[in-house]
Amino acid sequence: MSTVATSQIKLTPEHARPRASVRSRLQDALPKIVLAPSFAITIVFVYGFILWTIYLSFTNSKTFPSYVLTGSRAYQRLWGWTFDTDPPSSWYTSITNMGIFGFLYIFICLALGLFLAILLDQKIRGEGVLRPIYLYPMALSFIVTGVAWKWFLDPGLGLEQTLHQWGWTSFHFDWIKNKDFVIYTVVIAGVWQASGFIMAMFLAGLRGIDGEIMKAAQIDGATTFQLYRRIVIPLLRPIFLSAFIVLAHLAIKSYDLVVALTSGGPGGSAWLPSNFMYEYTFKRNEMAVGSASAVIMLMTIVAIIVPYLYSELREKPR
């Protein structure tokens, strides 16, 4: 490394204001050049497409995109549906389900993931066996795991039937057939799929924590609980951020899960906004409504994520 002896000794990127050669100027711009392609494709293929979607939501696009602006009828319809609670409109069902599912799914995955990671971090014999067991559900596509779960939760085939055969005949578990509870079965299957991966993320974080800090705290007489609450968990904050983002995006995109597990649920009672959007854009040929629902989803995400990102990214000491 020492072979490259140039005059960069005191330069850190933040303070670099080079008046030097083209080459060192290039060196300085290099980080931005490296980042530029990724940033550019994100702008075009994400934000460009978001603008396109917003535009479509103000047209009367049906089967195919139409580019004549016709006003906000799509939003007016969604707005009307938001208050159609009896009988619940599909849109109302979708957004309330999103609330239930999103909260439970993210919360349980984070809690369970952290809990399992802490357990696994206790110098466990057989960790090498347990870790992949917790992790593997993420590897399987829900096209088929959906079938396995569907059986398992079906009162006529799965758990209920099995327990009945084993003699526990009063056992009753038919959530998957019940319009008021079907969304919770989606939570169960979703947690099963993702919590192991979250566990792995936390485990990687735990292993990255400096052992010295832990030792020092133990010497100071901290109990295990205190140790984790006061020291370990705060140190895991960046992992929480990653995990939250991963989970939030999985929750929002949980289209396959609902379809494979419930085919939409009794009377469409398991719909999530992603199902709504897909149905209206592709099946019902009401692309404007589908786009409007996508826009509302994105705005909701902005409202939730952006403040969180802001606080997480801003208060970094460096």
């Binding site: 290099l30 994400v46 497409f49 870790r131 992790l135 795991t145 983002i245």
Partner: protein, 314 residues
């Protein structure tokens, strides 16, 4: 086991309490292992049963007369559309697409994370925020505009082909899929590496700068060797997502022969008529999941090894 940093010991002192603690911990871990294994168990036993036994027996019971036929059928005989040659042929299609997509998106993510943490510039946080938020775009709403762009690129590819004799891969469905997966994977890979490098001591980078190391030298010699755990996490994540993607695969594989595994599996499983051959479906699913499972098991080893390497940095 000998390295004693178990906090329980410090707090309790009594041997009995410690033993009970261990029992509780192992008990909980085993219980959860059962929860995670249950569907796999169902799939496995089903894949070894005859159809008769599936229809009349208990879902959780072991096969009375285990048969390997469903696996053979899934591998080499079952019909994917009109071609009845099993799902074996689609492996290669998927691998051709997944490997480049994972490698490119992971490398870009590593570089982005490195720039965003160790070479901060004004607006870096905003750039990161924008890339991060990109993770949330619902794929269904990019399906059509992306198809339009890929279509134009394909036509440009034909023009290039006529003019220069090569299309540089434009319009090739596999290249299209790689491109799409890289575009929508960067957000995550950047997030993973950025958060990992955030905790990586900046002093090491500064010291290397003082020694006159260049941007890429620092990346190659200091960052990369210490990135094993996050590489593993990222590769696992990307590999799984891209391998299991159905939406893009079904829409952009086009009329060519690039159909990836997921679409083939879907065609086997998602039949709307006829007796559903659950045993063959389950076997096909297990076969289709083998590469991802393999990645998990293999990566798991490096995971630990990488962690050990990472522990030195402390």
């Amino acid at each position: 086991m000998s390295a004693v940093t178990t906090p329980a010991r410090q707090a309790s002192g009594g041997v009995n309490v410690k033993v009970i603690n261990r029992i509780v911990i192992y008990g909980l871990l085993a219980l959860f292992a059962l929860f995670y294994l249950m569907p796999l168990f169902v799939m496995l036993v089903t894949s070894f049963k005859t159809m008769d036994e599936i229809q009349n027996g208990n879902m959780l019971a072991l096969p009375r007369a285990p048969t390997f036929d469903p696996w053979l059928k899934a591998w080499g005989e079952t019909c994917v559309g009109l071609t009845c040659a099993g799902i074996k042929g689609y492996f290669w299609n998927s691998i051709k697409m997944v490997v480049p997509a994972v490698l490119i998106s992971t490398m870009l993510g590593a570089l982005n994370g490195y720039v965003l943490t160790k070479w901060r510039f004004r607006g870096a946080t905003l750039v990161f925020g924008l890339m991060l938020f990109a993770c949330f775009i619902p794929f269904q709403s990019v399906l059509l505009p992306m198809a339009t762009i890929l279509g134009s690129l394909g036509r440009f590819g034909v023009t290039l082909q006529n003019a220069t004799g090569t299309s540089f891969g434009l319009g090739n469905p596999t290249v299209n899929l790689v491109f799409v997966h890289v575009v929508y994977g960067i957000g995550f890979t950047t997030l993973f590496f950025r958060n990992y490098y955030e905790a990586f001591p900046t002093e090491l980078v500064k010291a290397a700068q003082v020694d006159g190391a260049s941007f890429f030298q620092i990346f190659r010699r200091i960052m990369l060797p210490n990135s094993m755990p996050i590489f593993v996490v990222t590769v696992i994540y990307q590999f799984t997502n891209i391998w299991n993607d159905f939406l893009f695969a079904s829409a952009y594989a086009g009329t060519g022969d690039a159909m990836p595994m997921t679409v083939a599996l879907n065609n086997v499983v998602n039949t709307s008529t006829g007796v559903v051959e659950y045993n063959v479906n389950m076997a096909a699913a297990m076969i289709a999941a083998l590469p991802t499972l393999l990645v998990y098991v293999l990566a798991g080893r490096y995971f630990v090894r990488g962690l050990m390497a990472g522990a030195v940095k402390g």
